[in-house]
């Protein structure tokens, strides 16, 4: 019982780490550090999965944890790092909205997610239910990142961090989805990542830029 309490506390800590990382992702100025934080998010996710695996009786969660670590902690960040390196993308993150404003919005979003998740948490009897509000908040922060970043790469990282957040929700709130669904989702994410890579190359060669605004303007002009 003591161990269970401990693990639950550990999960709570992991959840707050997720939230913190989401803020960190938003706050970064340099592309590479964004990538680092993204990788860290994947690792926290894997740890959370492992922790949940320990308290639940779903053995496939161990496999899931390994997969997560591999895919989200290592493979995807490495893929993105390679793209950034290969394409000599300008290393600065260019936000649409300046940092303080972004942060204020982010804080507001966290408030909103707590507000809307409250009634759900009140009725849930699952051990990990209190992570739901944080999961929702991370989803929203990922979205905010997609909206406020100019570069395609940062948008992709935002997108992937949403995926992470979703995964975290699944793990934290429900002890993970059934395996077939998890695999399917993971497969889709992988395809998506491949397509991202494909697009980056295409954009690079056609537009000579990965800046979304520039791309849109150029597409319109031609």
């Amino acid at each position: 019982m003591n161990q269970l309490m401990f693990i639950q506390e550990a999960i709570s800590i992991a959840a707050s780490l997720m939230l913190l990382i989401s803020f960190a992702l938003l706050a970064q100025h340099r592309l590479l550090s964004v990538l680092h934080w993204f990788s860290a998010q994947g690792i926290v996710l894997a740890i959370t999965t492992l922790l949940v695996a320990l308290i639940s009786d779903h053995d496939e969660l161990y496999f899931s944890a390994a997969m997560t670590l591999l895919l989200k902690g290592a493979l995807l960040p490495w893929l993105l790092w390679r793209i950034i390196m290969k394409m000599h993308i300008h290393r600065e993150v260019e936000p649409m909205v300046n940092m303080p404003v972004t942060m204020m919005i982010a804080l507001g979003l966290v408030l909103v997610s707590f507000h809307i998740a409250l009634p759900i948490e009140a009725i849930s009897d699952l051990a990990t239910h209190n992570t739901l509000a944080i999961a929702t908040a991370t989803v929203f922060l990922g979205m905010l990142m997609m909206i406020t970043r100019k570069k395609a790469v940062t948008q992709v990282i935002g997108f992937l961090s949403i995926e992470n957040a979703l995964f975290f929700t699944a793990i934290g709130a429900t002890h993970g989805m059934p395996m077939i669904v998890e695999i399917g989702v993971a497969f889709d994410v992988l395809i998506a990542a491949i397509i991202f890579g494909l697009f980056f190359t295409q954009m690079r060669s056609t537009f000579d830029s990965l800046d979304i605004e520039e791309i849109e303007a150029k597409a319109k002009r031609r």
């Binding site: 779903h58 009634p119 009725i123 699952l126 397509i195 056609t206």
Partner: protein, 499 residues
Amino acid sequence: MISPMTAPISEQLPINWFSFTLLSPLIGGLLLAFTRQAEKAFSINVIFSAATFLGSIGLALDVLQVGAHEALNGFFFVDAYNVFLVSLTSFVALTTAIYSGPYMRFEWRERGLPNHRLRLYHAMYQLFIFGMLLGFTTNNIGLMWIALELATLATVLLVSLYRTPASIAAAWKYFMLAGMGIALALFGTILIFFTSSTIFGHSNAALTWTMLYAHASELQPTVMIMAFAFLMIGYGTKIGLVPMHTWLPDAHGEGPTPVSAVLSGLLLNLALYDLVRFKMLVDLSTGSDTAGHVMIFFGTLSLLVAALSLHKQHDIKRMFSFSSIEHMGLMTIAFGIGTPLACYAGLLHMTVHSLVKSGIFFTVGHAAQAMGSQQMDRIRGLIRHHPGIGWGLLIGTAAIAGFPPFGVFTSEFLLFSATLDSYPWLIAPLLTGLLIAFAGLFRFVQPMVYGEVAEHAITVKANMVPIYVHFTLALWLGLSIPAFLSGWYKQAAALIAGG
């Protein structure tokens, strides 16, 4: 993994139409990915599409014989609601495949589409169909999501097929927006699992739609309505509801025309189908009309905004894609109203809109080829130039605008009646939207079909058969709806309305 309701009737049947229908596009896609000769690919595409259609007919016959049933361990099921959508999807897929032969040949020969892209096109086309059919027939709401994502990814590649700057930008936009939407949908799905797993435990049953439906009243209403908000926005993005619709015009405008046809005619249907499935659960769980009201709101907003946007278009395919948004809005309103009559109207509208809109895109494709441009001010005098295309476009537009005796009129008529029964005040925005949309369509279509031929027009070999077939079917549905189809609609409407 064993659901108590599994009664594998289909295993007693001579052929398992489920696997046949689903495997056909999958195998076709694989085969086409490795078919190097273009001409051969055209025929293979048609053959596999035809096989898929055959499979769906078999499935439909099964349903007619034994009624709704599950198959393959309860992972798949058909009922009155999805069986006609499966048939419709495979039918439109077949006619689009037939149409895409001459169309893509033109693109390949005249506009220099490279061979490997053609291969990609065919493979992705079949993969898309697979995703569609999987999405319609699966009994698992997780798989439902995966299938829609699969179909989306396939179409992303199809939209960017030409690799022009505009098409890449469009595909990127499509990808990102759809990605955000689909993420929200997944979140909604997780939330449903969150509550259902308390009933069914941590198993597939907690994601199995038939199970959920059977126990819907036990699901937590607070969670369900919250989940519905996410699903509404998530799947709403894929339906093309305003304000989540912004990917749609670009995706329609930049991809090859057959892709526009199936996007408008099929993919949007799948997303709406999914949303309505969830609405059924939510309604049963919450016992209130909240979900319906949300749908009515987004439907009406879509109708009005799309109708107004029609007036400001220059690209013919973009214009018709706004018309698709408008019609998806109408259907969303219909399902949102949620009375049996409204749902009947919605289902009928889904059918005829698919037929007519894809038919219109067929003619639009040829028209754009003949005039060498998708810009509407470059398209002139189609009737003089090629009467088939010109009249096709004109008749199609009249049909989609809701003139009888085409089926769109019938469904709009029923929708009006249903609206007046439940939400009389809704009539005003409905009428306004339809009128504005109509004005937008015709003010652009008229100059394109009438008048003197533009001097830059070139002759194209148009395959008019799919167009005629689609319009004839829409006409038939307007004059009289076959009893079996009407029966399905009625059953499905009763199901959706929670009867």
